[in-house]
Structure formats: structure tokens, C-alpha cells
């Protein structure tokens, strides 16, 4: 069996050669813009952010290539294990995670702080893709087969809400929902689910602890905390708006450099970019993101296995959600939730997770012609 597997998988070097290097270069290009912004955020210094971020990029790229070199069939088999591992990590956070900024989302590994809810985003995509891959098209329309994937989504969402991290919980829900949709679940079932949640939410409300209720309320209406989120948003809009068409120039953004702009190196880094490089800079970055998205879609559609298609689109949708929510957030279109700008914001786990996700995408690209049976066995037809 093992030898057969190997014979069907391209060997190491040819596989490396067949990787989608254009995509890699595109990702590196976006990351370089990130370094420039972190350099600017530190007032024209590599320290403390840009230098560390570049090391993380290094780690992330290595991870990405390693993931890409592993065949898609192996990922199919490992999908549930990866998911179980990520779920175990989430439980571990519950048990002995470090509390940062009032929320318990991190595992302290001494060298790095590690955020398992990020890993879960990719793990969930893998698990759902494997499940839907194994399902016949007839079965998909049967409600009893929806129970398992609903649990796969529900368990991490419940754990993440407890942390409490509603932003990530919503990302998991929307990302998971997109998988259901792509797998072919009928639209009316989404409607039923949606109504169900609307009905269930008020029932669950009294069971939340007061501080959790408070967090939910603040999440739903940031105006409750005008000096916190409201202030940040106003400053963000001022900084962004004052950038104009062409921006104020690199290192010249007054609002970000005078510390009016909060979190300028993490969640609000897009604002800083738009202040310094204007509308053109902002659109340029968004254009690069769109190119990445198109690559993702193209790779997914081209794949010959349902698993590959679903993982590819799952990763692509997750990436899109990051980009959209972050940019919409800093422009005051959606409430302020802590979602980083992919490959640009300072922060390790999100970057490494996303690059891991792109590794999967590239693995799917290399193995685009591999067909798999219900349990990942090779199939020629």
C-alpha cells in the first residue's frame, strides 16, 4: 500500500518543482508590504515589529512548503486527526491558557504564544471537506447526515465563544457555512438553521454570565463604549480619510505616528497604509489580495477530488473573510472585532496559519489530478 502511494505521488524534487511559485511570490510581495508598514508603525525602525515579523514569515513559508510537499491523499487521511488535535488545543486553552488583553486565547509555549483558535480555522476546513467528500450526493440531502458536520462546527464555536472571542467564533461559523453551501446543502436548510439560531439565541441568553452578556452587547453595539471602540473607529476614519488619493507619503502619516491611531501595527494597519499611500495604495493592496483569491478559486475548481475542491475553497473563503472583515472594520462598515489583516498585521499565529492553509492549497494544486474514493483510497476512472 505504502509503495503504491509513493509511486502515485511525485517524488520530492519534482513535486517541489511543480509547486505554484507564482502564488508564493505573490504572498511574499504582500508580506513585504506588511514589513514596510510595520517599519513605519515603529517610527522608521525594524525593531520591534518588522524584524520579528520577518522571522515569523520565514517559519510560515517553510511550513507552507512542507505542507505543500505532502500529498493531498495524506491530508485527506489526516483531516480528522488534525481537527481532533486542534480541538484538544482549544480545550487546553480553556484549562491553562494565558489571559491576554482580557481574553483567554493563548497557550504559552515559553518561546511563542500560540493561539489554537487560529489553527482551528484550517482544521475545520479539512474535517468538513473530508466529511462531505465521503458523502454521496443523495445522502447530502438527508437531514440525519448533517448532524456530524454541525457538531464539527458547533464544538469549536462553543469553545471559542467561551474564551470569549466572538470574532473568531463568527469566522468559524461563516467559514463552516460556506463549506456546507459549496458541498451542496439545499438553500432552504440554511434558512431553517438561520431561523433556528435566531430562536435559540434568546433562550441561551440567561445562561450566559453577566460579563459575557456585557461582551456580547459591546460587540453588537460598540457605541456602548464610546471611549474604547468608538474612539478607535473615529480615529481610524480620520486617518484613512485624510490620506486622500495619493496619501501623505511613506513614514509621513501624522495620525498614525502621533499615536492617535490605536493598534496601528495590528488590527488598524490598513488604516495606516491608506493614510500613507492613499486610495491608490489601498486599492493596490486589495488588488493583490484579489489575485490571491482568484488563484485559490482557480486551483479549487481545477481539482479532480471533492476533498481538494472543498479544502481549496475553504482556505480561499477564510482568507477572504480576514481581508473583508478587517478592511470593513477599519472603515466602520462592520463592528470592531479583532481580526488581523492577512500577512500584514503584526502577529504570528494568524500568519503561520494562513501560510499553512496556502500550503494545503498548493498541495491540492500539485495533486489536482489525483482522484480519491470515499476514504481517500486511490481510484482511477
Amino acid at each position: 500500500m505504502a509503495s503504491r502511494l509513493n509511486s502515485r505521488n511525485p517524488h520530492f524534487l519534482p513535486r517541489l518543482w511543480r509547486l505554484n511559485w507564482t502564488l508564493v511570490i505573490l504572498l511574499l510581495l504582500i508580506s513585504s508590504i506588511g514589513f514596510a508598514m510595520l517599519y513605519s508603525a515603529a517610527g522608521g525602525n525594524w525593531e520591534p515589529w518588522a524584524s520579528r515579523q520577518s522571522m515569523r514569515l520565514g517559519v510560515g513559508v517553510v511550513l507552507m512548503i512542507v505542507v505543500a510537499l505532502i500529498g493531498v491523499r495524506i491530508w485527506m487521511r489526516a483531516a480528522y486527526f488534525v481537527y481532533a488535535g486542534a480541538l484538544a488545543l482549544l480545550v487546553a486553552v480553556e484549562a491553562f491558557g494565558a489571559v491576554r488583553m482580557g481574553a483567554q486565547r493563548w497557550i504559552d509555549l515559553k518561546v511563542i504564544l500560540f493561539q489554537p483558535s487560529e489553527v482551528m480555522k484550517i482544521a475545520l476546513v479539512l474535517a468538513l471537506a473530508r466529511y462531505f467528500h465521503s458523502l454521496n450526493i443523495e445522502d447530502i440531502s438527508r437531514p440525519q447526515y448533517l448532524l456530524v458536520p454541525l457538531l464539527l462546527v458547533g464544538a469549536p464555536v462553543a469553545l471559542v465563544i467561551r474564551q470569549p472571542d466572538l470574532g473568531t467564533a463568527l469566522l468559524l461559523l461563516i467559514g463552516g457555512g460556506a463549506m456546507f453551501f459549496l458541498a451542496g446543502i439545499r438553500l432552504w436548510k440554511f434558512l431553517v438553521l438561520f431561523v433556528g439560531i435566531l430562536v435559540a439565541a434568546p433562550t441561551a441568553w440567561p445562561f450566559l454570565r453577566p460579563y459575557q452578556q456585557d461582551r456580547v452587547l459591546t460587540f453588537l453595539s460598540p457605541e456602548r463604549d464610546p471611549l474604547g471602540a468608538g474612539y478607535n473607529l473615529l480615529q481610524s476614519k480620520i486617518a484613512l480619510g485624510s490620506g486622500g488619493m495619493l496619501g501623505r507619503g511613506f513614514l509621513q502619516g501624522t495620525q498614525s505616528h502621533l499615536s492617535f491611531l490605536p493598534e496601528k501595527h495590528t488590527d488598524f494597519i490598513f488604516t495606516m497604509l491608506a493614510e500613507e499611500f492613499g486610495l491608490f495604495g489601498g486599492l493596490g493592496l486589495m488588488g493583490l489580495y484579489v489575485l490571491v483569491l482568484l488563484y485559490g478559486v482557480a486551483i479549487s475548481i481545477r481539482s479532480q477530488s471533492q476533498f481538494g475542491r472543498l479544502v481549496g475553497m475553504g482556505v480561499t473563503v477564510a482568507f477572504f473573510l480576514y481581508v473583508f472583515i478587517n478592511i470593513a472594520m477599519v472603515m466602520g462598515v462592520v463592528p470592531v472585532v479583532g481580526v488581523p489583516l492577512p500577512l500584514i498585521s503584526y502577529g504570528g499565529t494568524a500568519m503561520v496559519t494562513l501560510l499553512g492553509g496556502f500550503g494545503l492549497l498548493m498541495s491540492i494544486h500539485v495533486d489536482r489530478d489525483v482522484r480519491m474514493g470515499r476514504y481517500g483510497e486511490p481510484r482511477d476512472d
Binding site: 517610527g43 522608521g44 525602525n45 454521496n136 450526493i137 443523495e138 460556506a178 453551501f181 459549496l182 458541498a183 451542496g184 480615529q235 476614519k237 480620520i238 486617518a239 484613512l240 480619510g241 485624510s242 490620506g243 486622500g244 488619493m245 501624522t254 495620525q255 505616528h257 502621533l258 499615536s259 492617535f260 491608506a274 492613499g278 486610495l279 489601498g282 486599492l283 486589495m286 484579489v290 483569491l293 478559486v297 479549487s300 475548481i301 471533492q306 475542491r309 472543498l310 475553497m313 473563503v317 477572504f320 473583508f324 478592511i327 470593513a328 472603515m331 462598515v333 476512472d381
Partner: protein
């Protein structure tokens, strides 16, 4: 494989929908961005230029710590900082070179400044050095014309005027370590200090106060133009101690000659601690700027443990001072004070001999005689009749064997052994011989100097269970008469019994046969009473007893006896209780009693227990008023 094909078709159709949705959403963002950055650009540009209000935190001045008369024990002094404003300095490296000739600037500081200059905006002042001396300040002022862009900035730093004298009580402040950051923005301020030991630590929150803020107007590049609004913070509260700084200083000076010693003076009526000294001490001012690693190591590794407050953390065998508790136990048990016991120099128990300190024996002794001359044999005889548990009960009623709840960290409970204790902790049965050695304050018995002073006070104030206090309400200005005599609960001994103990303690010092007669106070109105104690720290072997016990001055310092004295004054209307422990000082009567005498004389002369400030001390200004 039709099914798979269907699946793929569904997937492709839906992917198209998803991608379409994504493009719609992104187009929305582009539109929004266009609206903000082009359509509304002018408006936001104006807002940005008007965005000039910066909030700055004003650190509150730390509360003062003052003694019972309002004399300052911990204050804030102005700290002169050398700063450079790069844009005014022009050639910064050249200016720095010129500065090196005037004040001491380490290479490290110079490199740091040169590095920082490149990073920061040119109008932000940069600290070159902290803690300039007066002569340095004046030298800089004189040369000011040659030093463009160099300025002297004034900040506040903690200062303890008495230096080492009250270091163990006051503690010290030092920089906030990463661990201690709680998210309070005040703790993030550079140069902020928090209390690390003693009162500075126990009352840190009150002393700290709360930060104010200042809204300043800055121009488009961040230069401060003017202050718009200022919200004053709350200055730290003043903490009033019961200590008399003058007495404290005297005690510290008197103990300075000893290698390692401790003394506590209490007001017997209310337990207020008037002086509390542990030698050797440390300089709390040194912690302000941070000690170097070798300096810190030297403090921590010093075998005489200068950082430890021995008055509450040092546990010593009380020696003969413990006989006070045994005497009370005997009286309580109905043993007649007139009952005599014969001292032949030792007592035999089974085949073991227990020796009196006087080898030839004291002869027939009454209770008072035995106290006066500290006859061990008499106490052995009585202890056998009483049993350990009765002795322990008396000791506990006098405040020994448990912490007293003084407002300082590191208070130790000491140890008063009982049968039950030995069974539970050591797991063996109590031996009768152990009762004997306990009766003379040896064996398992351990006490702290503070406990000994409390014991003395409780015996002499009419049997009121006072507890030691170190912090008090600021004096209201009411007269001395207002001191509440004593409103603590009674320790339950009869007035006659306590009177007898007082008489015995009087004779220890003022009877020519008493063990502390040489240290009597000759002014009758100031006369003191007390009890000496000499606590053995090594075992005397049978062989050594045969060949003659070694004298203390023949021994290594570590092996010499601890010298103790507990006392009170004046005899006819007691106000002060004292305990003195000189580690390895030799004899209680030769070493500790003279120290106690000098301290009690001084306390009475200073009239330390008064409630209100006398005219001799200028009152320290209130913390709220002094600096801003």
C-alpha cells in the same frame, strides 16, 4: 460516476455564486474607501489637522510617611535629570562630548542616547542621566551658554531622611517589574516606583494615590503648544506611624556597635511601637535607582541578614526572660510566693543532672529571690510541679507562640511547646526533662523580640492584652491626657499576681543582689524594672562541665550565648516596655541590660509616648501640599 459529476457541477455553480458575492462585497469596500478618501477627504484632512489633543498622564506624588510627631520619615525630593533636546542641540555628539567633561556620563548612556536620537522625533527631550548632584547641576548651569539643547528636568524621587535607621519598618520603593504590571497605566510610566517592603509595601495603594491627566494641544507634527485641560490626580495619602523618629535614631545608634541585634520599645498602655530596630540595616535610598547585581548579592548573602527585620522575623530562645511566664503560671496554680526551694547548683531527674547557672548553688530561695537572682534550680522545681502545659498557657496569654498581627510583612509566630504539640509535630512523648529546660526558656521555646516586648507590656500594664501597632490615625491635636489607658481585653491574672511579678522585676534591677543591678537607672522617677536572659546556643557537654565551662570570650562568635533583656520604665507608673536581643552577645546582664537602660532613659527624656507633637520637632508638610 455520474454522482461525482453532479457534485462537481453543484460545486462549480456555487463557487461562482460565492466568488460573485465576494466581488460584490469587495466592491462595496472600494466604494466606501473612495467615499472616505476622495469624497470626504477634505473633511477628514481638516479633522486630522485639528486632531491635536493628546492625553498625558500625570503621576501623583507618593504619600509621605511620618512619625508620631509628624516628622518626615519618607518623603519625595526633587531629582535632577539631564535631558537633551536633539533639534536644539544641533550637533548632538559634539554636545555630548562637551557634557562628559562636566558630569559623569557612562559610555553605555552615551551610546544609548546617540542611538535614541536617531529614532525619536527631534523635539522630544531625551534623558541622558538621572540623579544629578547639586554641584553637577550648578556646573551645568554655569556652562549653559555652551550647551545648546541641554536642559535640566526636575522629577520626584523617594528619599528617606533617616537613611538606614528605620529601613526595616519603612521598606523601600523600586522600579515596577514586569510581573507586577497589572494594566494600571500608572505602572507603565517610566520612572514610576512602587513599595517593595515594610510600610511602603503594605500601604502601597494608599501611598500611591491616583494619576491625573493633562490634555495638551499639539500641532500637526506633535509638538506641544499649550495645555488645554488638567485633571489633578489624587496625591498619595500620608501614613502616620507610631514610631518616635528621635527614639528610633537613638536605638539604632546604640545598637550599631553590635554585630547583630534587635530592640523594640512599646507604649505599654496601647501597644504603640515607639522604636523598632534591627541591626545591621540597609540603606533604603539605594534601592531607588536600582541596586547593581553585586550590591544586591552582597545584601542577600550577608550572614547577618541585613534585609531581615529581626524584631519580628528573628526567633530566639528567650532564656531566663521566660521565667516571667513561669512565675505567673506558678502564682495562678496557687503556689505560695513564700514557699522556698533549695538550690544546690543542680537538680537530679532520673540519672540526669540539670544545672543552675550558679555552680555552687543559691541556697534556699523564695519566688521573688529566685526571680531576682534568676535561680534556675528553683524554676526547675516549680516547673516539675506545674507541668509544661500550664507554663505554655501562661506564655500564650502573654502573647508568645503566635503572630501578633503587626502591620509588617514577615512576622514569625515563635514556638511555645506543649505535650500535644510534641506528639503532633515530632511524634514523640513529652519528657519531663524538657519541662525543666523549657522553664528557663531553652529547648523548643522560641520568641521574637516583638513578642518579648508585648509580654513585658501585658504583665506591667495591669494585665491588658495589648497588641502591637505601628500605624495610627494622625494626631488630632488633642492633649496627652486623651491616651486611652487601656481598652484591650484582660489576660486574666489577678492584680496581686501581676503586682508580685512587678515587684520581682523591680528587684532584679534595683536590688543589689539582682542580676541587672549594674544597669539600674539612678534617677528614682525613671527607674526601670526587668529581667535578664542568656540563651545558650550550643550544648555544653559533660566533659566540658568537668573541665570548666568555656567563657563566652573564649568561643567563636557564632557559638556565644544570645544576650536578652526585657524591661519597663518607670517602675511606679509604667509607660515603656522594651526588649533587647543581642545575638551572640554573651550575658543578658552584661550586654543587653545596659542597652535597655540607655534606651529607656532616652525614651523617658524624649517623652516618646506623648500623643501630640512637641515644639521641638518642626512638623513635616502634608504630602498633598508640597510638590506638584
Amino acid at each position: 460516476m455520474k454522482a461525482d459529476k453532479t457534485r462537481e457541477n453543484i460545486f462549480s455553480r456555487r463557487t461562482a455564486l460565492v466568488v460573485g458575492g465576494q466581488f460584490a462585497l469587495l466592491s462595496g469596500l472600494v466604494a466606501r474607501m473612495y467615499y472616505l478618501q476622495v469624497h470626504q477627504a477634505d473633511r477628514y484632512r481638516t479633522l486630522a489637522d485639528e486632531n491635536r489633543i493628546n492625553l498625558r498622564l500625570l503621576p501623583p506624588p507618593r504619600g509621605f510617611i511620618v512619625d508620631r510627631f509628624g516628622e518626615a520619615m519618607a518623603i519625595n525630593v526633587q531629582n535632577y535629570r539631564l535631558v537633551i533636546i536633539p533639534e536644539q542641540a544641533g550637533d548632538a555628539p559634539e554636545t555630548l562630548r562637551r557634557l562628559v567633561g562636566l558630569v559623569e556620563i557612562s559610555d553605555r548612556d552615551r551610546r544609548r542616547v546617540l542611538r535614541e536620537i536617531k529614532r525619536r522625533r527631534a523635539f522630544v527631550p531625551l534623558t541622558i542621566r538621572d540623579g544629578l548632584s547639586w554641584s553637577e547641576v550648578s556646573r551645568l548651569e554655569v556652562n549653559a551658554p555652551d550647551l545648546p539643547g541641554v536642559d535640566i528636568d526636575v522629577g520626584l524621587s523617594r528619599f528617606y531622611p533617616q537613611g538606614t535607621v528605620a529601613a526595616h519598618i519603612l521598606g523601600y520603593v523600586s522600579a515596577v517589574t514586569e510581573k507586577l504590571r497589572t494594566g494600571d497605566p500608572l505602572l507603565e510610566l517610566p520612572g514610576f516606583r512602587i513599595g517593595k517592603r515594610g510600610i511602603e509595601k503594605r500601604h502601597d495603594l494608599a501611598l500611591r494615590g491616583s494619576a491625573g491627566s493633562s490634555e495638551v494641544e499639539v500641532n500637526a507634527i506633535g509638538r506641544v503648544i499649550r495645555e488645554l485641560r488638567r485633571r489633578e490626580g489624587q496625591a498619595g495619602q500620608r501614613v502616620d506611624l507610631t514610631i518616635d523618629a528621635s527614639l528610633q535614631a537613638f536605638v539604632a545608634e546604640r545598637l550599631a556597635a553590635e554585630k547583630s541585634a534587635a530592640a523594640v520599645v512599646l507604649d505599654v498602655r496601647n501597644g504603640e511601637v515607639l522604636a523598632m530596630v534591627s541591626t545591621p540595616s540597609f540603606n533604603p535610598n539605594a534601592f531607588n535607582e536600582g541596586l547593581s547585581v553585586p550590591e544586591w548579592r552582597r545584601l542577600v548573602n550577608n550572614p547577618l541578614s541585613p534585609l531581615t527585620n529581626k524584631t519580628i522575623s528573628g526567633q530566639y530562645a528567650p532564656g531566663s526572660t521566660f521565667k516571667i511566664a513561669v512565675m505567673l503560671a506558678a502564682l495562678e496554680a496557687g503556689i505560695s510566693p513564700e514557699q522556698k526551694a533549695f538550690c544546690s547548683g543542680h537538680i537530679k531527674l532520673g540519672n540526669q543532672r540539670f544545672h543552675c547557672w550558679k555552680r555552687v548553688g543559691h541556697g534556699a530561695m523564695t519566688m521573688i529571690d529566685a526571680m531576682r537572682e534568676s535561680c534556675d534550680t528553683w524554676f526547675y522545681t516549680i516547673a516539675l510541679k506545674l507541668g509544661i502545659d500550664k507554663i505554655a498557657e501562661a506564655a500564650q496569654r502573654l502573647g508568645l507562640g503566635e503572630t501578633l498581627g503587626v502591620d509588617l510583612d514577615g512576622e514569625k509566630p515563635g514556638l511555645i511547646p506543649t505535650r500535644a504539640w510534641k506528639k503532633a509535630v515530632i511524634g514523640r512523648r513529652w519528657q519531663r526533662g524538657e519541662t525543666l529546660i523549657s522553664a528557663i526558656g531553652q529547648g523548643y521555646v522560641l520568641t521574637t523580640p516583638l513578642q518579648l516586648a508585648v509580654m513585658m507590656a501585658r504583665v506591667i500594664n495591669g494585665g491588658h492584652a495589648i497588641t502591637p501597632k505601628i500605624q495610627r490615625e494622625p494626631p488630632s491635636g488633642a492633649g496627652d491626657e486623651e491616651i486611652v489607658a487601656v481598652d484591650s481585653p484582660s489576660i486574666g491574672y489577678s492584680a496581686e499576681a501581676l503586682k508580685l511579678v512587678a515587684t520581682a522585676l523591680d528587684s532584679v534591677v534595683n536590688n543589689p543582689r539582682g542580676t541587672a543591678y549594674k544597669s539600674r537607672i539612678r534617677t528614682p522617677s525613671m527607674a526601670m524594672g526587668g529581667k535578664t536572659g542568656t540563651a545558650q546556643v550550643r550544648r555544653i557537654s559533660v566533659a566540658e562541665r568537668e573541665s570548666g565551662i568555656l567563657k563566652n570570650n573564649q568561643l567563636m562568635w557564632r557559638e556565644r550565648d544570645h544576650a536578652l533583656f526585657v524591661g519597663f520604665a518607670p517602675v511606679n507608673d509604667p509607660r515603656y516596655a522594651i526588649s533587647v536581643v543581642v545575638e551572640h552577645g554573651g550575658g543578658g546582664s552584661s550586654k543587653a541590660a545596659p542597652i535597655a537602660k540607655d534606651i529607656l532613659v532616652t525614651a523617658q527624656k524624649l517623652d516618646s509616648s506623648r500623643n501630640t507633637p512637641p515644639s521641638r520637632v518642626a512638623r513635616a508638610p502634608n504630602a498633598e501640599r508640597d510638590f506638584d
